[in-house]
Symmetry: C2
């Protein structure tokens, strides 16, 4: 008999643990995904900031290091056309910072690229056959989505509300990731732009579980065995954890980001659109305090970060993370800085103990 | 052996169920508190909008109807001095609404009274000897607090962050209510004014449980047996539920508020300061959409509601709740409209089943 209250994911993918490592574009990568796969979880490769060739190569590298199910993650935003006027207003807001840090604003480059899922990436999925594909910000258009379904992979996407979960179920998703407001990084929100009504994990998971007939993967604020066990109690069939993996040696988390995570408390983070144009949760720093955390001046996703990039570079050179995106969820303080395989095994063991103890209460 | 993973509250108060009915000033009252007491939970009387004589009389009425532990709840805000200029700016913001609804702004009365705990209320506690006293917005000053402790009652207060929980423990609270961001009504926040960093229940409960050595009462987004069971899994020793009791026939919830609750979905609520001057969660309505939900123009607590009161009255007379405070948490949609005793019994039975089933998994 399985020690897990729900074995949907294990039955579907043949692995041992109902724990998915969240993709985390920019800081997740080959070594982290491989370590989680090796531990019996589901490793994830974030592909939103990769080109197709790099994504393909990374899948190959994970496969060489570890067996077990692998998830490829893609963004599905519709890129906004350039808005010269808004970009100008935004750069003017940053003017005093350019002056202070000695940055030449005319030298500001384009924003870090975050490309939506496209035909080239679809070919990567068709060729590399990942066991799972997760989308963020909705779903790709129907012709591409049909090709992904045709590979036989497990297809999931993020919902931040019941309405989004129903939308994903209606389009054939095999499961839905219920992303509570506690989650670090980008909100997957795609049907609504108002973040004041975003729902916490505790309220979101049971309401989505009631609203859809597909399995629910809980994410947001889950960082230890208590959280994993509680997610099952609320109706989840599996869990996805991100922030807890940021301090693993296999992650590509930059040193200043790690330093912020070490000090983070429960109320150290906020949702901000300053770094990309879309709301994402990170540790509050100088630019968030002074210009936001949410600002109507920030250009549309994913371009807002371009004008900030040279400030980030100049500040980081001085050991200052005041202009860096320090993505983190609200349970960052619960994370243990351990190798990813050991961390995954510990999380699973703690969750199983917690579930067993309760039943015996 | 108790079916509950933690029996602290039951050992302390001698009742059957670790379920506290949240006070809910304005809509909770004698009948609701008595029904919950009769069912084995802890009934609460909200005293923030009562004078001392009325509070004393209400305790007597509950005692006549039911045995079992009773909680009296008090606010501990420091009333702000009147700010004529800010009040003027606020009324000007509302000008178009006064015109539309035919309200004479010069006839605007004072805000609904919400008085902080004082010597008169302290006498009520000393005379009526409630088994529990809960505070919101911090604690009263030391001389009053010492008198409350001297009665031997169980003293608790709300924390919205780990820092607030530690502050309450350091001042001798016997337990702390961890109020997650999902909770309906006023945030208990008292050490911080920035709501962008408020923490969800799922992340808050385990972090407070780790940070303090006193028991943690979880609240916010808990509305069924799954939520109660999950709160215990996260480290809570008891739970407090508010929104779920709003639709009980024993509550004083106005008809338009009930209508809003019946339709509420997971993402129907937001934090707003428009109705009182302090952030509180309610169903989003016209004035929240058009002026907020958070506005720097709203006067300080508890006076903001005064200028809105005639608009509320005029709109409600037309069956419109666009200017009413419709307090509700993010799990309002999970609430069953049942008599309070039956609801309490069902919640407890469902939670016990959930805990038992998991352990057998």
């Amino acid at each position: 008999m399985s020690p897990w209250p729900d074995t949907w994911l294990l039955d579907r993918l043949g692995n041992d643990l109902p724990i998915i490592q969240a993709p985390m574009a920019g800081v997740g990568g080959v070594d982290l995904a491989a370590a989680v796969c090796a531990a019996g979880g589901v490793g994830s490769l974030p592909c939103a900031m990769l080109d197709a060739d790099t994504a393909r190569a990374q899948v190959g590298m994970v496969r060489q290091q570890a067996a077990g199910p692998l998830n490829l993650n893609f963004f599905c935003h519709t890129p906004s056309p350039p808005d010269v006027e808004r970009e100008q207003v935004w750069r003017e807001s940053l003017g005093p910072y350019y002056a202070e840090l000695g940055v030449d604003p005319s030298a500001v480059a384009a924003a870090p690229g975050r490309a939506p899922f496209d035909a080239a990436m679809c070919e990567v999925v068709e060729q590399t056959r990942p066991e799972m594909v997760s989308f963020h910000f909705g779903l790709p258009d129907e012709s591409l989505l049909d090709r992904v379904f045709a590979t036989g992979t497990l297809v999931v996407s993020s919902a931040t509300t019941v309405t989004e979960a129903r939308w994903l179920e209606a389009r054939g998703c095999h499961a839905v990731i219920a992303q509570g407001a506690e989650a670090g990084g980008h909100r997957g929100v795609f049907l609504e732009s108002d973040i004041s009504t975003q729902v916490g994990t505790f309220a979101l998971v049971p309401q989505i579980a009631d609203a859809v007939s597909i399995p629910v993967i809980a994410t947001g604020g889950i960082a230890d065995g208590r959280g994993i066990a509680a997610a099952f109690v609320l109706g989840a069939a599996a869990v996805q954890l991100g922030t807890v993996y940021l301090r693993c040696p296999e992650s590509l988390t930059p040193p200043l980001h790690l330093a912020a995570l070490e000090k983070a408390g429960d109320d150290s983070t906020a949702l901000t659109n300053l770094f990309s144009g879309r709301p994402a949760r990170g540790v509050v720093n100088r630019v968030m305090r002074e210009l936001g955390p949410m600002s109507s001046r920030a250009p549309a996703f994913p371009t807002a970060g371009g004008a900030l990039a040279p400030l980030k570079a100049a500040a980081e050179a001085r050991g200052d993370h005041g202009f860096s995106s320090l993505w983190a969820g609200q349970a960052a303080a619960l994370a243990q800085p351990l190798p990813a395989a050991e961390l995954t095994a510990n999380l699973a063991a703690d969750a199983r103990d917690r579930l067993r103890t309760l039943g015996a209460g």
